[in-house]
Structure formats: C-alpha cells, structure tokens
C-alpha cells in the first residue's frame, strides 16, 4: 500500500517538468520508497525471532598424567568438572544461546549446554529488567554470578582453554546459582557499580539446602574507567554459604577409601582487576576463603574444622598481529592454615589419613597459549600447561582447541 503510493509519487515527480531541484527531489522520494520497502520486509512474525547463536567447541589433548586422577591436593574437592579435558580427541560443550527482549520491561536469555556425555545442562536462563531506570537492574533465574571478574565471562570467551585454579578450587569452575541479582550503577563519570545476589546455593561451595529462603548470599562492587588509552576495572566480591554435609571421598594412610564431610560456614572474598589496551590485556584475581565448622570422618568421628586458604592467578594476553594472540597465566593456591579437631584432639585418625585436606601442598600451574582468530567468529588455540595441582606430581598438558560461533553476533562482556 505504502509502497505503491511511494512509487506513484516517485513517478509523478519523475514525469513532472524538469527544474533544478528535480533530481534531488527524486532522490529523496527514492530514499523514502527504499525505506518503506525495507520496513515492510522486516515486518511479519519472523522479525520477532530472538537472537540465536550456537557455539561449537572441541579439544585434542595430550596429558602426561591420567586426567581421571586429577585433584587439587590441599583443598577440599569442589565437586565441579575441574579436571583437564580427556586425552585424545574430545568434544567440549556445545552451547545454544537464545536471547531477546521480551517486551519493553524485560530481556530474557537462555544458554543451554550440550555436554559430550549427551546431556543437556541449563547454564543460564534468566530475565533482566530494562525499565527500572535510575541505574537499577534486576536479574532473576539461573545466571553467572557477578562475583569476581572471570565468573561472568562465558567459557567460550575465556582467554585460556580452562579456568584458573582458584576458580576450580573455590567455586567448582564458576558460580551459576538460581536466584536473584540486583545491580546499581552510580551516576558518575567513571563506573561505580554495586550488586547483591541471593541464591539457592545449588552448587559448591554450598550444598543445595532444602529450605525456604536463600542458601547463598553474595555482594560485589566494581569501579572502572579509562586511563591513557586503556580501560580498567577493579572489583571486590564476597560470597557466604552454609554447607551442610558437604561430602567427598579420599583414601586413608592404609589406602582404604574414606568419606569426609563438612558442615559449617564458608566465606569467600575475591579481589579482581583487569586492564585492557588495544593489544594487551592484563587480568588477575585473588581469592581468600574462611571455613568454620565441623568435619565428619567416615561417619565415625566428628570434630571442629577451620581453614583459611587462598589462591590467585595473574595473566597477560598480547595481540601481536590482528588475528594472533599469545598469553601467559600463572596460578597458585595456598594451603594456608587448617586446624582439624579430629587430628588435633587425637580422636584416632592422623594427618596422614587426610591426604587431600591435610597435605601442606601449594598447587601451582604455568600456562602458555597462542590463539589464532581468523574472524571474530572462529578461534583455534594451542595451550601448554605445567600443572602441579597434585602433590608431588607434575602434569605436562598440551591442548589444541577450537571455538566457533554461528548465528547472531552476540555482544561480549568487557
């Protein structure tokens, strides 16, 4: 309708007597016709389809040690999938991302991961408000927590194939709880952002409590800005959970299997920073966790257990050509101070019967990677790591990885 009217008008003008302005007029009308045509094309139901993108990933790995024996000695196992990839060829998680504005008030996003074990995991499924204003946004559902820096970055956008050791040990790789998050951006010229979350506590370090109300609380603050051609952000975060019967397996000094479990309170602090210039990205985070409560050994002995443990990593990634980057990361965890009442009070088991918890081992790892991204939609990466997570054992790891993304051009977090 509009289109035919526009055409008729364009024709009318084209056949009118020539005068100086004519070509300009015709051009204007032509533009108007084009615009209307373009609009009519994008109408219809299909225009409401959400943004869809698909991430394909896989690895080929050569590891000196059997990944089945992977552990981070000196810290309680986080139960997450924290080990290196399988040896040989292996598919990694394929992610399907569907996102879009629900209406003027809400935005929604789903990230579903198809695991190589043929399972589907919901990594994220949340709504986010658009219209609260005054710097406030509210998020609800399952989402990557705002604590730390890397936690909110999707795995396919990481600068290394795997998570820093501190994330593996203290958060089981990352924290994506079910809950709500409120954020507020201050009306300042630099970034000052405050956030708080209440979650169910469905995964490590919590134990998915069966109760009303929240099982995990967290808060974070970010400041950031520009500095001499670089952008920076620094943050401080806090997470508090109350795990109950958080159990894991170990072997005692005679080699017999044991079960230990922790009940009490766990508080985690994270300090993080990131600085990015056109070629260089520097990033680091420091974790400190305090756990206070009781440890139960083989359902037989129970006594107090307190620990203060920490860990950090620092990494630098340098883009030396438009499509090429090289990066180095150093990881270190500190066994710290652990007081185990079962051992201290002589209930029976000795420190040697708690090889995981009581071995005074400070895990370290050095990782070197080089990646090639022909476009922003594809990336091939070669990564070498010397991993000393296990006490007395060095694992040399070589991993070749691909990360491809199809479909909608998603925006990446800073």
């Amino acid at each position: 309708m509009f289109r035919s009217m526009g055409c008729a008008m364009a024709l009318a003008v084209a056949t009118a007597p020539a005068y100086a302005q004519q070509s300009d007029e015709v051009r204007k009308l032509q533009q108007r016709v084009d615009r209307l045509e373009a609009q009519s094309q994008s109408r219809g139901q299909s225009a409401f389809n959400p943004e869809i993108s698909l991430i394909l990933q896989g690895t080929a790995a050569s590891l000196k040690q059997d990944p089945e024996t992977y552990q981070i000695t000196g810290l309680a196992p986080s139960g997450g999938e924290v080990g290196p990839p399988r040896r040989g060829f292996s598919l990694a998680e394929s992610e399907l991302v569907v996102a879009g504005n629900v209406d003027p008030y809400f935005r929604g996003q789903l990230v579903a991961a198809f695991t190589p074990e043929d399972e589907v995991e919901v990594e994220e499924a949340f709504f986010q408000t658009l219209a609260l204003g005054r710097g406030f946004t509210l998020k609800g559902g399952r989402f990557l927590s705002g604590i730390g820096y890397q936690n909110e970055i999707h795995q396919h956008a990481w600068d290394f194939q795997d998570a820093p050791l501190a994330y593996k040990a203290f958060l089981g790789g990352r924290l994506n709880d079910d809950g709500v998050q409120a954020r507020w951006v201050a009306p300042t010229d630099f970034l000052l952002e405050l956030g708080a979350e209440a979650g169910r506590g469905r995964s490590f370090p919590a134990t998915d409590p069966n109760k009303n109300g929240a099982g995990a609380w967290s808060a974070f603050a970010h400041v950031g800005g520009d500095l001499a051609g670089s952008a920076w952000r620094a943050g401080l975060s806090y997470l508090r959970v109350k795990p109950s019967d958080r159990a894991f397996e170990d072997t005692d000094s005679l080699g017999a299997p044991t079960t230990q479990s922790f009940t009490g309170e766990s508080k985690l602090w994270i300090a993080d920073f990131v600085v990015k210039s056109r070629e260089l990205k520097l990033q680091g985070e420091y974790f400190r966790r305090r756990e206070e409560g009781d440890l139960t050994f083989n359902d037989t002995f129970t006594d107090s257990y307190n620990s203060t443990q920490s860990g950090w990593y620092a990494q630098a990634v340098y883009r030396f050509r438009p499509q090429w980057r090289v990066g180095y990361r150093y990881d270190r965890l500190d066994h710290g101070e652990v007081s185990n009442g079962i051992v201290d009070n002589g209930l029976g088991p000795t420190a040697a019967d708690f090889p995981l918890l009581m071995t005074d081992h400070n895990p370290t790892r050095s990782t070197l990677m080089v990646d090639w991204s022909p476009t922003e939609f594809s990336r091939l990466r070669l990564q070498f790591a010397q991993d000393k997570s296990r006490a007395g054992v060095t694992d040399d790891q070589v991993v070749l990885q691909y990360v491809l993304s199809l479909g909608a051009h998603g925006a990446h977090k800073f």
Partner: protein, 297 residues
C-alpha cells in the same frame, strides 16, 4: 576516597544539569549533536576516529556514561551490535533502551546501500541491514541532522525552539557546503580507487568515483600477501589511481599495494578527529576532498 564520595553525592543530588546529556557512539554523530545542540547539550563520544568501529568493547566508562545519558545517538544497522546492547542493559538507564525516545539510530533516516542478497558469513563479516558507514555521504548527514534535531526537541521541549533553529541554520550551511564540495570534487568523477574495507562506499557513490577493488579479501578479513598479490594482478586489467584507507585502518597493506602498483596511498580521516583538519563535520569533508583531489592531480 573522599573526593569519590563527594562526586557521587554531587551527581545524586544534582541531576538537574540543564543541558541535554548526549551519548554518541561515534565521532560523527557526536559532532552533529554539538552542531545542533550548541551549549545546551553535553556530548560524550564513546569512540575515537582511530578506533575500528567494528571492534569496540563495552568498557566500564561507557556503562557509566550511558547511565546518565538522556539520548544515545548511534549509527544502527548492526554497526554497534558487538557492544551497545550490553551497555544499554548494564547501564540501568530505562530512557535509552531500544524503542524509547532516548535511543536514536541514524540508519533509520537514510537508505542503506550494499544490502547483501545472501546472508552467509562465508562471505565475510557482512551487515545484514546494509552498509552502515552512512556518514560519508553528506546528503545522508542532512537527513540524519533533520531527524536528530527533531528528536532533541522532543526530548527537551523547553529548548525545542532553540534546537529547531540551530538545525535549520545547520542544514542551510550544510546545503551550501555540499554544493561547494560537489563542484570542487568534479574531477573525482570516475576516479578509480582501491579501498581497504567497504567503509567508503557512500563517499564513492556520492562523488561518482569508481571502486575497483578492496584490500580486504572479504569484509572483516585482514589482507594477506596472497590476497594482495591477487588484487595487484587484477589491477593490471582495471587499474586504480589511488589506494584509499581510513585513518584507523592498518597502513601497511595499502603501502604494500601502492608501492607495487605505482599509485599513491591516500589516508582519509573517515570521521571527525581522524586528522587534525577534520575538527568538525565541515572539516571532515574539506579534508577528505582535499586529500582525494591531491591524489587525483
């Protein structure tokens, strides 16, 4: 810490700053907003002429600036798709969300060219809506200026009359300048050039120049020696008279080709701030034409 605290307090207690707070995604729209708004707007420009507009990140300062913006002025046509949606949602600013008065896309006001007939990324990093580098046709700038002036008046009605008058005055000056530029640029008609990326298509179309090749083998793919050698061979059939790149684009590929093809490399400001002479929109076109005409001479 104390100064941080006071600045927060100040910012909270005085959102009354009379000027319309404008967040411009790119320098050309920042410059246009200044032309139309004068001293009754404050303009923050998110990117510079020396940054590749396709590779901007949602950095913290952008979230902070978008938080306070009354109006976000961007190109649209997916040019900012890699960062702007994040800045919009993270800013917690309801006024600048898509569909609101406070969100202005310049591409809504002009007809885009080079709309891909087939959407397939094997063709490179193509923009589904068409070529988004619309500001290098001054007639597009006029269309956008009219739209932007109207929008500013709608958002800030006490200053509406002021914005309308300034927009009218700008359009008058602009029309005269366009006439002058078209006269000056007459020797560029049919001038064959090689471009780096398809950033200059609107300029080429406006001046009737001829684009005989692009340094990028496909949009978004950096040139390689192999692709440049191929291009060099093609230039034997259809010779070019200059290799033209934008200020932010890598100078090496155009220098490589220029040397071997025996034609001059020309650097254009691309947008406001790209060269010292391109101080505002008028300077942008003056300098662009001067540089092209120097090469054509």
């Amino acid at each position: 810490m104390k100064s941080l605290f006071t600045s927060v307090l100040l910012a909270i207690s005085c959102p009354c700053a009379a000027a319309l707070n404008i967040f411009a995604c790119t320098p050309e729209w920042g410059a246009l907003a200044k032309e139309l708004g004068g001293d009754r707007v404050t303009v923050y420009t998110a990117t510079t002429a020396l940054q590749d507009p396709h590779r901007i990140e949602a950095r913290p300062s952008l979230i902070a600036r978008a938080r306070n913006a009354d109006l976000v002025v961007c190109t649209g046509a997916e040019l900012e798709v890699g960062w702007l949606p994040l800045v919009q949602t993270q800013s917690g600013n309801a006024r600048i969300q898509a569909g609101r008065l406070g969100y202005f896309e310049a591409a809504d006001f002009v007809a885009l060219i080079e709309k891909p007939a087939r959407l397939d990324r094997s063709l490179g990093d193509i923009h589904a809506a068409g070529n988004p580098h619309i500001h290098l046709d001054p007639r597009n700038v006029a269309e956008v200026a009219a739209g932007l002036g109207e929008r500013m008046a709608a958002l800030d009605s006490p200053n509406g009359k002021f914005f309308e008058e300034r927009t009218g005055a700008f359009l008058l000056r602009w029309r005269q300048a366009v006439e002058r530029w078209e006269k000056e640029a007459a020797p560029l008609k049919g001038f064959p050039i090689v471009v780096h990326h398809r950033t200059l298509s609107y300029l080429v179309a406006w001046l009737g120049m001829q684009e005989v090749g692009a340094l990028e083998p496909k949009p978004g793919l950096p040139p390689s020696t192999a692709s440049l050698t191929e291009l060099l061979a093609r230039l034997k059939q259809t010779p070019a008279k200059a290799v033209v790149r934008a200020a932010y684009e890598d100078p090496r590929p155009s220098a490589w080709l220029a040397e071997r093809a025996g034609i001059p490399p020309v650097m254009l400001p691309y947008t406001v701030g790209g060269t010292d002479a391109a101080k505002d929109l008028f300077g942008l076109y003056d300098d662009t034409l001067a540089r092209l005409l120097a090469a054509a001479r």
